[in-house]
Amino acid sequence: MSTIVFIDTRGEKLPKAAQETVTYASKLAGGPVTAVTFGGAAGLESLGAQGAGKVIVARDVTAVDGQQLTKLVLDVASKEGANTIVCVHDGTGKAVAPRLAAKLKAAHVAGAIGMPEGDKFKRNVFSGKAQAWLQVTSPNKVISLMPNSIPVGKDGGSASVEDYHGDLGPVRITVKEVRKAGGGVPLPEAELVVSAGRGMKGPENWGMVEELAKELGAATACSRPVADMHWRPHHEHVGQTGVAIRPNLYIAIGISGAIQHLAGVNQSKVICVINNDPEAPFFKAADYGIVGDAFQVLPQLIEAAKKLNAER
């Protein structure tokens, strides 16, 4: 039995999470895998570098309709004789992976965070406060991989690309409108994140936060009250009830470090905390800390980041 990988390539570029997931699938299979996708960004053949032997692309599918995409993946899986399907644990994966699992009577590992040990897969539970090893006992498996869980592979060659021609049935979810929320780095994929909380006092002070993020090439995030007060857009809210992220670097400015906030960010590799209260609970979860006023510290950080950029 073999492994296939399903990814969303509707953007202009191949998403990093898709490249990670192809890498993961080919490591799992121990060789080249077939990738099935829709949209079809430029450079699909380059997925060969991550271990895709062949890429099958449904170019006419432009929106996420879980039933159509499930049909697409199942069709390719049956042609390839695959019993393992790997996808990204993102919005598209969340619309399709549970359906695939229900159809195939397969275990769905939602948000694997590394390679398995045998049929045991590690994933985050309790909002990142713990991890669980899920023992899969079904012959079919559906695994969705958490973004930023493994490095992107670079060793393979070039993949062959074929168009998919099959009947995917009616569209039952019609897209009426798409509203883009500014450019910048999408938060769940970001490797570097600059985040700020109520300590920033008001939305008019976010210029500094954005400037630091820009200098570092980081995404911006915020605590829940900041989004609730509409100082920042809702999609920036991180934590237990917001987005859960695991970047390489998380800089938290004027955020107290409530347990519900930590739940969404404690998987970050390096955490820096800037807070004027030395007793702020966030320092306990930090690797680097500065006790000081954000309005004095931020300009120094921006200046240092500019200097570093000038030297590189």
């Binding site: 929106a63 309709d65 879980g66 039933q67 919005g91 969340k94 619309a95 399709v96 992976a97 549970p98 359906r99 229900a102 009577k105 275990a107 769905h108 939602a110 948000g111 045991k120 590690k122 539970v125 309790f126 909002s127 406060k129 713990a130 991890q131 669980a132 899920l134 023992q135 006992t137 079904s138 039952r172 979810i173 897209v175 009426k176 798409v178 509203r179 570092l216 809702h234 999609h235 237990q240 009830t241 917001g242 859960a244 390489n248 670097l249 519900q260 998987q267 306990k284 930090a286 680097y288 800390g289 006790v291 006023d293 004095q296 510290v297 120094q300 950080l301 240092a304 980041a305 570093l308």
Partner: protein, 259 residues
Amino acid sequence: MVRTFAARTSVPVKILVLLSQVPDTTARIAFTDGNTKFDANGVTFIVNPYDEWYALVRALELKEAAGAGSVTTITVGGADTEATIRKGLAIGADDAVRVDVQPTEALQVAEQIAAYAKDKGFDLIMAGKETIDHNGGQVGGMVAELLDLPYVALASKLDVASGKATIERDVPGGVEVVEVALPMVLSAAKGMAEQRIPNMRGIMAARTKPLTVVPPAATDNVAHTASFELPPAKGAVKMIPADDAGKLIEMLHTEAKVI
């Protein structure tokens, strides 16, 4: 007789809300039995925030706007979940169903819910975005597949009119507005509604609202949690003086090597 719908802005819908029970957001996370079981000792259990704040409240708002329809909750769990189920009734659900079996895994839960819902004619089945203990975000999509219904994950707004749902869903870098004919399944995320605190009348009424216990159906056994782990403890935090804050950037570059 000619019936006219012209004046109606919304129509009554029959809604099923999937309600799960989870440890309180501040609960201490610890394990027993050689790290194979969650230590529930001293832990308060609550309704999963996404199920309560967003799915249930929006379901009630739709019913109120239409002046008719119904909101039923369903929970897969033992008798220990009845207090949280009553909370859903106190907030305003009409009735509740409990499938009498311990939840072990997402597909098992979804198969129980699908088995109950399949011949009840629900127009709308609403799950939460994810449970805050299991964090799967799986059950809604699985129920949809088992019932052959469309499913929209991560819905942040929902309106229902003339047999159709209009939904905003979160997508990378923005939102998409989609339209789906009922019946359908969705998972509710932040933005769909505002939390409601049950009042005394609601709490009193909840005591006598129907809570039906149904026996479990046969389900597939595809996976189980073998063990849990707590993340390794952080090393000591390195403090940098505020008047030399630029040093942090230097250390992140040369020492931590993340920038």
